[in-house]
């Protein structure tokens, strides 16, 4: 993937030049013994660290390690129970996000705070304290464009945000902070929903920013990424700062070990299976599937795909290459315009949507779509199983049976809180995802379609889920894993199909693939060029 490596080169080489940039104001923010409790839980346990400009400073840690809490303290959302914060040696008091903003601290949250129907320009002007009553868009636009150019951010200011891709939206968020003259930028998992090329672009932009005298703090649990782009890495585990070192001096394995602690095992790097599916029959095959175009979505064009029994089949591709449509077709939410489906070699009548959905479990990309925040965990479990005869007595639901089933499933997948009457909305992202996984695994359908299933999970849980996918497939069922995380695909799948522009441009056994060749295929290069 040439773009990615060159971007990495830029960041590395500019890091080495930092000494020459003496004219730039040095900026440091220092956390001194920050402690924060939530009830009996210690989210931050006497965390002390110094963060400097001149290179990305990454905070690595599992979900719940205390990264987000620390960042929210830095950006004024929470107040620490003990400890203090200094900027350039001066103690500062961050009583509210407004205080933080005044001091030039800005945070980009994982969930974007953009208004889709407004343009980039309008979004940037929105909610600024100094935006005048009467907007003078041309004048403002010129100033913002200048700012963007200064930091090498390439954006069409007049495009509506709804038309932007994830990476561009991320850039709008960053530009919003820059326009407010933020000098300390905090990004919470900025790349969790981006394809590798997009991530590289965002991260190299961030690296450039940090070179120009800003502090850039990155929260992530993506190790590869930060080894490439970060200068300093701090690792948090269970609220404590366990390590703090320069990115050049550390290996991925060591980081993973520090991050997970005791439970670390050797599976992290190796493939977690050895399973041969070459000669298996196809559980499901799509031939010549077409999906009508809509203004915002690219359609599927003569898509062919074959998913064998016992196989975990990966789908790689830049976002918007047709993955959403493929998922919708397979999960029975979209009827293709034309095309054939073969289930176990039998051609299936595809007149309505009921055919696919009975034989497919589906883990949606957005956990909100797969769960019920206002209803209980028990009801969340029933969401996909309500038609099952063993749960029904005439028109009535067997409450005891449903409760027993729910208890069993939340126990297996370690969903917390453990009681069946807790509301879905009270669960954190990771727990919610585990709840959905528990339910979909239990459906035990011949095909499981999982879209980005580990995005909100920590490393240990992700590894477990990947293993569970393997186990699921080993029963003669199949898993279709759609993920922007190439590493995950390469470590979990038997074969990977790459989608580009609404079709599958190549399907390869993982042994013939690596991140680089996958990246080329995803960019639309054909197979011959990749193999040569």
């Amino acid at each position: 993937m040439p773009e990615m490596s060159s971007a990495a080169l830029i960041s590395r080489s500019s890091q080495s030049r930092v000494g020459n940039k003496a004219q730039l104001e040095e900026l440091t923010i220092c956390c001194d013994h920050i402690t924060k409790h939530f009830g009996p839980v210690i989210a931050n346990d006497s965390v002390s660290c110094t963060i400097e400009s001149g290179g990305i400073h990454a905070f690595l840690g599992e979900n719940g390690a205390g990264k987000s809490t620390l960042m929210k303290i830095l950006s004024g959302y929470y107040q620490p129970d003990a400890g203090s914060i200094h900027i350039n040696g001066e103690p500062v008091s961050l009583k509210s996000p407004a205080d933080a903003r005044r001091l030039g601290i800005g945070m980009v949250h994982q969930q974007f705070t953009l208004v889709p129907s407004l343009t980039v320009l309008e979004n940037i002007l929105l909610g600024q304290a100094d935006t005048p009553m009467i907007l003078r868009p041309k004048k403002q636009a010129a100033a913002i464009a200048e700012k963007a150019a200064q930091y090498g951010i390439n954006l069409d200011l007049h495009a509506p945000v709804s038309r932007l891709n994830m990476a561009e939206k991320q850039k709008v968020e960053i530009l919003k902070l820059l326009w407010r003259n933020a000098r300390i930028l905090i990004l919470d998992e900025p790349t969790s929903h981006l394809a590798p090329l997009e991530s590289a672009e965002i991260l190299s932009t961030m690296a450039r920013l940090s070179m120009s005298g800003k502090i850039v703090i990155l929260i992530t649990h993506h190790i590869e990424e930060l080894l490439k782009f970060a200068k300093m890495i701090s690792v948090l585990r269970q609220g404590k700062l366990v390590a703090n070192f320069s990115a050049e001096s550390v290996q991925a394995e060591e980081l993973a070990r520090l991050m997970i602690g005791e439970s670390f095992n050797a599976e992290i790097d190796g493939k977690i299976y050895s399973f041969e599916t070459e000669n298996n029959v196809a559980n499901l095959e799509l031939r010549g599937v077409n999906v009508k175009s809509s203004p915002t979505n690219k359609a599927l064009k003569d898509l062919n795909i074959e998913i064998k029994s016992g196989e975990v089949h990966g789908i790689a591709g830049v976002m918007g290459s047709g993955q959403d449509e493929l998922t919708a077709v397979l999960s029975g939410h979209l009827l293709p315009e034309k095309g054939e489906v073969f289930i176990k070699g039998q051609r299936s009548a595809w007149k309505d949507l009921s055919t696919p959905h009975k034989s497919v479990s589906h883990i949606p990309a957005d956990a909100k779509r797969g769960s019920l925040p206002n209803l209980t965990l028990l009801e969340n479990m029933l969401l996909r199983g309500i038609h099952k005869q063993e749960l029904l007595f005439g028109p009535f639901i067997k409450q005891k049976e449903a409760e027993r089933m729910t208890k069993e499933r939340i126990e297996t997948f370690d969903v917390r809180p453990k009681h069946t009457f807790a509301l879905g909305g009270s669960l954190s992202g990771g727990n919610l995802q585990r709840l959905i996984l528990a339910r979909e695994f239990a459906k035990s359908a011949p095909l499981m379609v999982a879209v980005n299933p580990t995005a909100s999970l920590d490393l240990a849980m992700s590894l477990r889920i990947r293993k569970d996918f393997r186990k699921y497939a080993a029963d003669g069922k199949s898993v279709l894993l759609i993920s922007p995380d190439l590493d995950e695909l390469l470590k979990t799948c038997d074969r990977i199909s790459v989608m580009f522009g609404g079709r599958v441009v190549g399907t390869e056994h993982v042994s013939n693939l690596n991140a680089e060749s996958l990246g080329l295929l995803m960019g639309g290069n054909d197979r011959a060029a990749v193999q040569s």
Binding site: H357, I397, F421
Partner: protein, 371 residues
């Protein structure tokens, strides 16, 4: 750690307390208003209480006033369970009255057991038709049901005007805009020798039925899923639109029973002032009750008391009827304000406990608003 059942109970308790607090706050704010216009709030409130629950006559008047509110409130609730906001119960009430009136005036029955069931069915069908139209517009082409149901109220009212000034005008009394009186067999039976009628029994049966079926049946479950997260319902392949359309139909039919029982038991004929806004009051009752069918009954009783209390207030304290409207509006306002507050409280201890596992909570909404 609270066990599951306790937690459920705690949540229900919080909501009940929250509603109670909102009502008390509303009374307090209205008291300030009363003081400003130089009335003694204590005396006014005692007056309302006396007029509502003071003696057996006031009590029966309260029940009479509460009956159409209950039926309308239940109508609103049924649609709301599936995420459809039916603001058109007032119109559906009138359509129910029209349907019942047609049967009463045109069917040559002389027995109540023939007449009344037919009136009931006709009323339900007409009301259901009136809510079916906005329901259909919503699920097919996405017309907001809030607007269309609301607008159809005016159409319903004009339809009644047309009928009582035109084809159904009372031939014996042309000066009054109303139909001829119904035959005796078209009168819904009254209870205990008072004006209280069978309508209240309908309301209570419907409420109990839904209170039982909603949490225990598959259809009830699917309805709740659709109401709580239509995206997830779509994801689970529920027939969201079909369910929502049926909810609207049933909602309209239940609201129409209010119209039926009003013309049949109270008025004995169709006239334009049939409902002093029972539909809208029912809407209020439903939201006060947070769409819980049993709570709708209780809240309707209280509002019914407020209305009949206001009647006597008008006579005794010489305060305009609008005083009670102010109080009602205040209650609704306080209730909406309390909603967010209670939601936060209800989930607070879980959120805190949960932080040890994850801390990817969104920042508080007040903060997000600034971004």
């Amino acid at each position: 750690m609270l066990s599951g059942h306790w937690q459920k109970l705690r949540r229900a308790g919080l909501y009940a307390l929250g509603s109670l607090f909102a009502v008390i706050l509303a009374f307090a704010i209205t008291a300030v208003f009363l003081l400003l216009v130089g009335r003694d709030p204590v005396a006014v409130y005692t007056g309302i209480y006396q007029g509502a629950f003071g003696d057996s006559f006031s009590l029966s008047e309260t029940l009479v006033a509460a009956t159409p509110i209950m039926l309308c409130g239940l109508g609103v609730a049924i649609a709301q369970w599936l995420g459809m906001m039916n603001v058109g119960v007032e119109g559906q009430l009138y359509l129910g009255a029209i349907g019942a009136t047609y049967v009463a005036l045109h069917c040559p029955f002389s027995q109540s057991w023939q007449m009344l069931p037919l009136m009931l069915v006709a009323a339900a069908v007409c009301g259901a038709f009136w809510s079916f139209i906005p329901g259909l517009l919503k699920v097919t082409i996405g017309v907001s049901e809030v607007i269309s149901t609301l607008l159809m109220n005016y159409v319903a009212l004009l339809l009644v005007e047309f009928l009582i000034h035109g084809p159904w005008e009372d031939p014996n009394n042309v000066s009054w805009p109303q139909t001829a009186a119904f035959p005796a067999c078209a009168e819904l039976p009254h209870l205990f020798g008072t004006r209280v009628h069978l309508g209240i029994v309908f309301a209570i049966i419907i409420a109990l039925l839904f209170a039982f079926l909603l949490p225990t049946t598959k259809i009830g479950f699917i309805s709740r899923v659709i109401g709580s997260n239509p995206d997830a319902a779509e994801y689970a392949h529920y027939k969201v639109k079909r369910y929502q359309l049926w909810a609207m139909i049933i909602s309209g039919a239940v609201a129409a029973l209010a119209g039926f029982s009003q013309v049949s038991a109270i008025e004995g004929r169709l006239r334009s002032g049939l409902s002093p806004g029972y539909g809208y009051t029912g809407f209020l009752a439903c939201w006060l009750a947070r769409h819980n069918p049993i709570a709708v009954i209780i809240v309707s009783l209280l509002i019914g008391g407020l209305l009949s209390g206001a009647d006597s207030l008008q006579l005794s304290a010489k305060l305009p009827f609008a005083t009670v409207n102010i109080l009602q509006g205040m209650i609704f306002f306080c209730l909406l304000a309390s909603e967010q507050f209670i939601n936060r409280l209800a989930n607070s201890h879980i959120v805190v406990k949960d932080l040890k596992i994850e801390n990817k909570k969104d920042p508080p909404s007040t903060v997000r608003g600034e971004a």
